[in-house]
Point group: C2
Chain length 157, copies 2
């Protein structure tokens, strides 16, 4: 698997948050329900994102988590590296310690280039951009539901 499952969930959650009114705190329970991710598991992942300075949280009634910056300013790479660690995009394809420009393995150059393709794609894509695309084309965010699920706000009913 290229990305860990935690990372995949983290991306889904980040997109979910970017699709909300900016600045509003969203309870984790609500996210776990909508995204069909175990509440406890998602909690751990979001705690990581909070610790890494991507989210901020607020306790108590009407509490929850929210993005620290606007979605426009958050590239996917931030989420991926916060969860899977920066080694993900620096590791040697042959597993050699210290593999790099100075002491490369035979695959180093090509591998680095291919990896950087992923990296730059993740650097160039922002949460907002994907949310926009998801809304415009009504794409999926869970196995069944698309971005529209996020709008059926039933508060006050």
């Amino acid at each position: 698997m290229l990305l860990s499952k935690s990372c995949v969930y983290g991306l889904r959650a980040a997109l979910f948050l970017a699709n909300q009114e900016h600045g509003k705190f969203i309870p984790i329970r609500q996210m776990s329900d909508k995204l069909e991710i175990s509440f406890h598991f998602l909690t751990k992942i979001l705690q990581q994102l909070t610790a890494e300075g991507i989210l901020e949280s607020f306790k108590g009634p009407n509490g929850g988590v929210r993005l620290i910056k606007r979605g426009e300013q958050i590239p996917l790479i931030d989420v991926v590296l916060a969860i899977d660690g920066s080694e993900l995009l620096t590791e040697c394809a042959l597993g050699l310690p210290g593999c790099g420009v100075k002491e490369p393995c035979p695959l180093h150059d090509k591998w680095a280039e291919a990896r950087d393709g992923i990296r730059s794609m993740l650097e160039e894509s922002t949460l907002t951009e994907l949310v926009q695309k998801g809304r415009d084309e009504n794409l999926r965010l869970t196995s069944e539901n698309g971005f529209d699920i996020l709008f059926e706000v039933k508060e006050g009913v």
Copy 2:
């Protein structure tokens, strides 16, 4: 981790074999010693490569494994997919089942493109090509040793 540890070992082993006289059976024990990989573990990995038609084996004295085709004709992708499975380069970045052109997730297009960068790099690189590079520039194949370790053949001493 982008590639599993098994896959990484499999690549090292494939390069090792491509650096040997073509057609000669190399005992797994010798490979595990030189490549500093656990004999038993490497055995399992090579069995997979044999089952996938990349290697062939021969039992008994002077037995071992060898590449079925010449290294020129073996792209890295063969080894990677034989071990990590083809899902590796088709999985959805958001983990959605059935994500594809017909039912994409918001990240699908960009992710597919980035993944394909890795894929085509692995398709275009052959074992021989890397062995050649490794020899020419005397690069590493283990944490300590380079391709030269493969030449100290001590038979008949």
